[in-house]
Amino acid sequence: MSTLPMAGAPTNVNLVGLAKNDYRGNPTTLCQGCGHNSISNQIIAAMYELNVLPEKVVKFSGIGCSSKSPTYFMNRSFGFNSLHGRMPSIATGAMFGDHTLKGISVSGDGDTASIGMGQFKHIMRRNVNLVYIIENNGVYGLTKGQFSATAERGLALKKQGTNPYMPVDICMEGVVTNATFVARSFAGNPKQVKELIKAAFAHRGIAVLDIISPCVTFNNDETAYHSYGWGKDHEEPLHDITYVAPRNEIILEREMEAGEIREVAMHDGSVIILKNLEKGYDPTNRFEALRALEEAQRNNWLTTGLIYVNEDRATLDETYNLVDMPLNRLTEADLRPAPEMIDKVNALMF
């Protein structure tokens, strides 16, 4: 499987002899135009371009729209769609099974920053070897449009009223909890998303990737996402809650320059502000990372890019000094102590 393509082999295969189709999943059942689909596509592209064997990847998710998406990429990889907010613990245990595998997990803002906040924080502490993508839209989609913990204060949603609470900044949480890789992107910037997925995959340890992924159905209010339209009157009433309008994905027309600040129009005319990190920004400096995040908060910026990385910390499996053979391939000879050990144990009792 890992052989290089032979002369005369089709050219649309990568270095491990697989076509892009080998990385695809089932057709998506998410809304048309959902940013999550774009992210799934970038995962497929990144894995294809990185020449990853799908059998070396394990997929994880919790519950929610975002957590459905592992079905929509990499069918040849094992996957576990687990419980709401509990993906980190499933992944932590499962990655002990075979430490030569890499995990890719997809969660949402509710799954991570509300019900799953505790497990999110602790998987970062433990530095599990896992790409942890949060498809962040500030809203609960599957239950039809409630606020999540990343929704900004003052955001108004149909039926929910106005959000009275301060938002959770996932990247800030990541940096303060000593995640070894923290990045932010925007689903409408597929090239950056792909590049960051590649970087996250290449990182050994936990790689937190907060991807703002607008909900085309439930969080399409013009006041959404740090917008200039704050406080402006709605131009039109919200859609009927059961009606899902077909929309196109938001795609940046032009690549962003380093240090550039740009406004991006949302479906409904609201605006998102993207700011690329300055050239010369040192993502290995935790102090700078926190400063950059604080600056972004004060200015209502959505800072994207690689915010923090630390390549020096041991991953969880390294900390445990495991045998080279994957644990799930060990046999009785490795696992059951020899018969004479029973006498030794009995001798240790009184």
């Binding site: 592992p70 509990r86 245990g93 029973i342 009792m349």
Partner: protein, 609 residues
Amino acid sequence: MTKVVNDFSIIVGTKNGSGSSTANNTILRAIFKMGIPVSGKNLFPSNIQGLPTWYTIRASKDGYLGRRETNEIVIAINPDSFTRDLASVAPGGAFYYASDIKLPITRADIAIYPIPIKDIIKKDPTIPNDFRDLVGNMVYVGALAEMIGIDLETIHAALSFHFKGKQKPIDMNLGAVKAGVEYAKTSLEKKDPYYLEHMDKTDGLIMADGNTAAAIGSIFGGAQFVAWYPITPATSLAEAMNDYFPMLRKREDGKHTYAVVQAEDELAAIGMTVGAGWSGLRAMTSTSGPGLSLMTEFAGLAYYAEVPIVVWDIQRIGPSTGLPTRTSQADLSFANNMGHGDNDIVILLPGNINECFDFGWQSFDLAERIQTPVLVLSDLDMGMNQWMSKPFEYPQTPMDRGKVLTEEDLEELKGNWGRYFDKDGDAIPYRTLPGNKHPMASYFTRGTGHDEYARYTEDSETFYRNMQRLKKKYVTAKGYVPKPVQFNGTGAKTAIMAYGSTEAAINEARDQLAKEHGLVTDFMRVRAFPFSPEVDEFVKKYDQIFVVEMNRDGQLHQLLSLDYPEHVMKFKSVAYGDGMPASAKWVREGILAKHTQPAAVTVEEKGKN
């Protein structure tokens, strides 16, 4: 005065955190070393330091190890419980107390032995000031030893074990013991009838607690992954795994074939366990009632997703504060229904230290064979107290890793397989493990909504079909779970059913019922859910069956009634839960109270245990 030899109980009342456990364990072990059947139970509060705590020791020439409700010898070291302790001495018994406690002695029917512990310790120049309180406890050990006949050699052996051969603490403690002996020799006159004499009834036996046994048994079962969160009384199980893994799974390269992770809570502990079990590891977690509550959602998922895991529940009273350090058998109903929706959890019910060890390794075989969560219900009394026991026995059968398809298997099948197919007719499907390199190996795991190929579906028929298979799988489990233990052959038409740690008290009560009330009983201790065919047979055989358990509602009684509706009138619940380990007294009285044809009382009830 007739001597009473090797058949009485001692209770020591001290302050929690005063270091008395070393002293009490020393008495227990010394008596064991003398060849006398003995049991010890720590009745402790939820507290680090200061609250009253008691330790009971029962010597029984007849081998009864259950708790007794009377104490012939009481040792009072704690002023706060002094009056209560004094009142608790059985008539004709003995009362030892720290004589710096200046409280009135109100009993004339017992022997009174003051011990000036503080003065004795002060006179010993070899004991540093900081150690006086700790070592002081050894003075009562010495005084007691002299008065009832524990020999110093066995005390020395107990101390050497406790301090792992470290000479300095051994000498210091032994010095205090000798001072106690000397004091008793010169200043106390024996006025009670209670004595110990050497026997040979503990030859070849060990002393261990159930949590240690469970941990070691699990390691012999090839445990690879343990995730846990601290909770009394389960903590010592996970800690014992940390203690014994390095020795039992030592490798030349110094690398590990296992991992023990202290999780942030029980939600994460079982989550990690499910993840590890799913990835093919022998994975377990240990907890108690409150933690089990938190683990419910994942247990349900593991049932539906068919992930093998082992969960040990060391039962206690809960939730929240109150009696978290007292024993209980009240998690059975909850465990049986763990998880929402239709559910059948395989439960193992160890009843002694050997079974804690055996179910340690057997639970993994069962979980991987059936592909389901296996709960093991122990309790605080079994888990944390020292019990004399037969030595641990090496597993008699090779590991059963269940139905796992390797790369070679898939090659042979040309990749044609489905995760949830009932290929063999036993309702147990085949699984593959992450890391399998075959391109057709992978599947996607989720809860209820999947077809035979593990593909997402919300189709009603497919869901129904899968649920029926899960039910059938639970029936398959009947053939794999441990069979019940039976004490039969009396020809009686009356029987007792129970589970777990109550066996000692029940067998003692059975002897008393037969001897003193003419009520002869057979006895079955069930060891697993689902009930195996032996339970069906047993239930059919008797006219009345007393179901004895340590909880309020009679949970085993309820479950038996549900499983055997045609026999429901036979079952009589003898349920009692007050946090204390079962005693022969409440078993006997409970049965007599419910017995439809009261047997003739042949011996006066008064003064009997």
